[in-house]
Symmetry: C2
Subunit: 432 residues, 2 copies
């Protein structure tokens, strides 16, 4: 569609120039060059107010209005991030996602592969002097452009790198799983508290708009109580030499890597903590991929309100990342719930004498950009992140209970955690 900025057109001259060239023999309507002589209306010019541009709604009332244009912070005012780790996720998703951020920008890279780091820095306009090795994390202190470090390395390295970045005075966003044990997670929370920096775990799905809508559906009660959550996260692993298949680096198999999404979102959807878990694990005995880590985990979470979540994860079942909530008065089905993109939501409910299935059209947004912008805004506005370190600690406690249940064949009761149970407060929930 053609744009409109007639307020800006040097009116008399250009409007006249425009009308002079008209030759389209439109079958409808009259001449109407009178309108071109007068000042263009605000519907075309837009208005500047409170540092934002907005346009009055141009659509007829039958259609929803379009959202206002984005209002990114000027680049120099955005929160500078150092990316710690230059593997697939950083190169395929995070660095491209910064382009869609409005509050965050990449200003430094931490990598042990100088050739790769120099190439990537040039591609994304990062200064060559802002490339660091892993041993240099303490030197981030001297780089005033860096306000946050995003740790994107194998799981068993998170603790040391998070603590080093915190000690350098930087706020830390850490990939999931936060660590390889609840003990490590507690130590990381304590280290960031001591250093007075914010710690957030990169649970991107909690920032994804379709999942936010599911959370809203559960919390609003408009379909009644949620009785059952059924969800899975499966993908097929190939080369056994990948770090994910090495227990010393990954800490575990499918559960901490991808099953954690089922666990974390079941907790986020309900806003509750599980009181009991029950689990079974199946790992093919002679598959070289599974020499060190588990393959398939099925686990049930029971929540205080009575909601039950049945979760499954696998490294040998075909790509599937779906979620369904069975409510008292409807259901919600979210296809590709945990995928990087492609979420499709369907909601069933009663409509008079019929059942209808609605497909709300929710604009797809880059989850990584939303997540990084959330952390940037928490830093700019001194707010607590929606998914702080405590959120990672809780998942580690639950995963330990899942492994314990699978090992013993018995359900495991989860006790309330001392000093943690206020963490899912209203402040965290209202965060944008």
């Amino acid at each position: 569609m053609t744009n409109d900025d007639p307020a800006a057109l040097g009116r008399r001259t250009l409007f006249a120039a425009g009308t002079a060239g008209l030759a389209l023999s439109a079958a409808a309507g009259g001449g109407g060059s009178a309108s071109a002589q007068s000042s263009p209306p605000p519907i075309d010019t837009g208005v500047v107010r409170d540092g934002r541009v907005s346009f009055p709604n141009w659509r007829g009332e039958a259609e929803p209005p379009s959202p206002p244009p984005p209002a990114p912070l000027p680049p120099g005012e955005r929160v500078g991030f150092a990316l710690v780790g230059l593997g697939r996720l950083t190169l395929e998703e995070l660095l491209p996602a910064f382009a869609e951020c409005r509050y965050a920008r990449p200003v430094a890279l931490v990598s042990g592969t100088p050739e790769k780091a120099r190439l990537v820095a040039a591609q994304y306009g990062i200064k060559p002097e802002a490339i660091y090795g892993y041993a240099d994390i303490p030197r981030l202190r001297e780089n005033g452009e860096v306000r946050a470090a995003y740790v994107v390395t194998p799981n068993s390295l998170h603790r040391e790198q998070v603590e080093a970045a915190a000690a350098a005075g930087k706020h830390v966003l850490c990939e999931k799983p936060m660590a390889v044990s609840s003990a490590e997670a507690r130590a990381m929370i304590a280290a960031c508290d001591r250093a007075r920096v914010k710690l957030m775990v990169a649970y991107r799905v909690q920032y994804e708009p379709h999942n936010r809508e599911v959370i809203r559906l559960l919390r609003s009660g408009e379909l009644g109580a949620a009785r059952l959550i059924e969800t899975n996260n499966c993908q097929v692993q190939g080369d056994p030499s990948q770090w994910r298949m090495k227990k010393a680096l990954a800490g575990g198999g499918s559960l901490p890597d991808i099953g954690i999404y089922c666990l974390n979102t079941a907790r986020a959807y309900t806003g509750e903590e599980p009181v009991e878990v029950f689990a079974r694990i199946h790992t093919p005995p002679n598959d070289p991929r599974f020499a060190e880590v588990e393959d398939t985990v099925s686990f049930m979470l029971r929540f205080p309100s009575g909601t039950i979540a049945n979760c499954a994860t696998s490294y040998s079942a075909f790509n599937s990342k779906d979620m369904r909530v069975q409510f008292e008065r409807g259901w919600a089905d979210l296809e590709n719930a945990y995928a990087y993109r492609g979420q499709q939501l369907r909601v069933a409910k009663r409509d008079g004498e019929r059942q209808v299935v609605e497909q709300p059209r929710i604009r797809e947004r880059n989850q990584f950009a939303l997540e990084m912008d959330h952390f940037a805004r928490c830093i700019l506005e001194d707010r607590r992140p929606r998914t702080p370190g405590e959120e990672g600690l809780r998942d580690h406690l639950a995963m330990e209970a899942i492994y314990r249940s699978a090992a013993t064949g018995q359900p495991v009761t989860m006790e309330p955690v001392q000093g943690l149970d206020a963490s899912r407060g209203p402040e965290a929930e209202k965060a944008g």
Copy 2:
């Protein structure tokens, strides 16, 4: 997912630090800290080759591999664009889309509203001295950072602004409709030829991946010949004072604004030029929105191969932008074919004794970014754009025939255009 860059980890120290903290009681697999001592494999480190980073496929053969990470040009090497016009499209879509470009970047703004231009320039990191008024387009010549101008103003202003930018030595990307008549379109092509600059019309849909797949389906012949194309583009207009409802600025109503998508893509899908058009127009007599321009246009295009396209556009029918091709051996249905996002493709065909409907999962990409990157690459590599000025001229000739048919009530025969019929050549088609 957690990233991986173990090559980069200062191996001995950090790998040891990592393994020291392991406490996850995984139920499956053995110990395996041996792997952490050895060098990480290329599957984790990736490789740098020919100025690009790539990672070996980590997935099992059951699943398609993930695409390589993007390889954007360093910002200073990208083609600098001046945006001419700061209305809705520029603020809501184009400026945000540049963030997803790999070859293009915004470096200048042309606007008559200095307050708005200053705010927007700051938001997108454009220098304050690169803000121009409309009368200053000739001064773009002095700004070496600007290599292309993107004209995004009301239709009747395109000609003068395109010619001014070309005279200033800048390549020009012009919004659709290219002009308000075929005579203007011819003049613009000639002016750009004289100035030895490239001219491209912003037919974004021809760069959108789902539409590209439909083009591939038609051209490949794998479902046989395309017998029928059925397509519409409707949206409900509100405020009658908007420039789109003024004939002096828009040149026409729904046809040149949104119906042009049906026309242009029917031509692009088939790769043919229509030999006959037939059209009817209905405009409600007492609706203030339609005092100057037409509302609803239905038109049929007949192509030399026998394919018939039935197209419809309206400013008073609820939002709908769909397209369907009926082939000899299947059909393709593209929902939201012309929308900014949300395309959904379904393809029906025979599978043995059954009919199956496939939903190819095609990654959604920002069409505006693809379009601007295409023009940038054409400039960098001195190639002819896929949608040059001639593409706009052809649509103006067809629209004039459509209006003529509606006015006379008779079908209108379209003659081959002298000197134009090689424009849809193989060079234009292979352009990426």
